[in-house]
């Protein structure tokens, strides 16, 4: 845990943009820079015809980035804390959402889950997310075993699959995460769909883990007296 925060002093740089700092740290590391450029150029390359980009290639490049670059770089980019809109928009743009996330139509979340489960890797990453980010009342942090790191890792592990999650807007005050889906048209499965979607949108474990990473307080989870 400590290694992720070395060189990152939230008190000393409260005025600066943490997401910009995270991009700088990545650009100054050859491996991170190369793989970041790899997915950005793939995901922002416009194709001729109706498709804005190749989502398949973009997802593959994103998976390579999150698989091969250490968390000290990738987590900083994904979970940087923000005080203004420009920063929050940069954070939302991290995964190049116009290609990797947004789509013309929003599928039903249970249908999307079915698509994910048909792919063995997506299926196991989703299971990891549910295990490690499952909100619980038995711990102080709402996370299983108070393990923020495992939850953040499982979140990052979903990026580049059909269940790619992202920030829904550039709000600085409230963080809302969701995959690109809705529960419209769920029929008699509506309750199950809402329950599934809430694991992303209203999950205190995930929200606490992201906020704690952003303000560097996840090393010590004990309450301040």
């Amino acid at each position: 845990l400590a290694s992720i925060f070395s060189g990152m002093d939230p008190a000393a740089s409260s005025k600066s943009n943490h997401c910009l700092d995270a991009a700088k740290a990545c650009n100054l590391n050859d491996n991170c820079k190369r793989l970041r450029s790899g997915y950005i150029s793939t995901c922002s390359r416009e194709l001729a015809g109706s498709e804005p980009c190749s989502r398949r290639k973009c997802h593959k490049a994103l998976r390579q980035f999150f698989d091969r670059v250490p968390g000290e770089f990738t987590f900083r980019l994904l979970f940087c804390s923000c005080k203004d809109r420009a920063c929050a928009e940069r954070r939302r743009q991290t995964i190049v959402p116009s290609c990797s996330y947004e789509d013309k139509e929003k599928p039903n979340c249970l249908d999307l889950r079915g698509t994910c489960r048909a792919d063995h890797l997506c299926r196991s990453r989703l299971a990891d997310f549910h295990t490690n980010c499952q909100a619980t009342f038995q711990s102080l942090t709402s996370c299983p075993g108070d393990n923020y790191q495992a939850c953040l890792g499982s979140y990052a592990g979903l990026i580049g699959f059909d269940m790619t999650p992202n920030y829904v807007d550039a709000s600085t005050t409230s963080i809302t995460i969701s995959p690109w889906c809705s529960c419209k048209g769920s029929g008699n499965m509506e309750e199950e769909c809402e329950k599934f979607l809430r694991d992303f949108t209203e999950n205190p474990c995930l929200r606490n883990a992201i906020q704690a990473f952003g303000n560097g307080s996840d090393v010590n989870v004990a309450p301040k007296n």
Partner: protein, 107 residues
């Protein structure tokens, strides 16, 4: 001091690096992102070839006139770095290639 400056001037051709903002690159992009700019710097005195000496001689004997010739090796990139991508101030991503030197030589 003067001697220090003289020594710095005579450093052989090698790769140097600078941390610069994308806006400072002067390529017309507006972005506060910082990138590593690697460039070639130094002298090439040790790399003078018979070619250079002969060319100089031809020029002084006026066998070559009114032509742009270079009778000295030049410290330049031999290879360029991988692409660099960044998000600009208007939330658009751009990728720039051959921005940075990867290897330098006297050519």
């Amino acid at each position: 001091s003067r001697r220090k400056r003289a020594r710095a001037r005579h450093k052989p051709c090698e790769l140097r690096e600078l941390e610069v903002s994308v806006s400072e690159l002067g390529l017309g992009y507006e972005s506060d992102e910082t990138v590593l700019f690697r460039y070639c710097s130094g002298t090439c005195e040790a790399a003078v070839r018979s070619y250079d000496l002969s060319l100089k001689s031809m020029r002084s004997r006026r066998r070559i006139r009114r032509e742009k010739v270079r009778a000295r090796p030049c410290c330049r990139p031999l290879a360029y770095d991988d692409d660099v991508s960044f998000l600009d101030a208007y939330n658009r991503y751009y990728t720039v290639n051959e921005l940075s030197a990867k290897e330098c030589g006297c050519v």
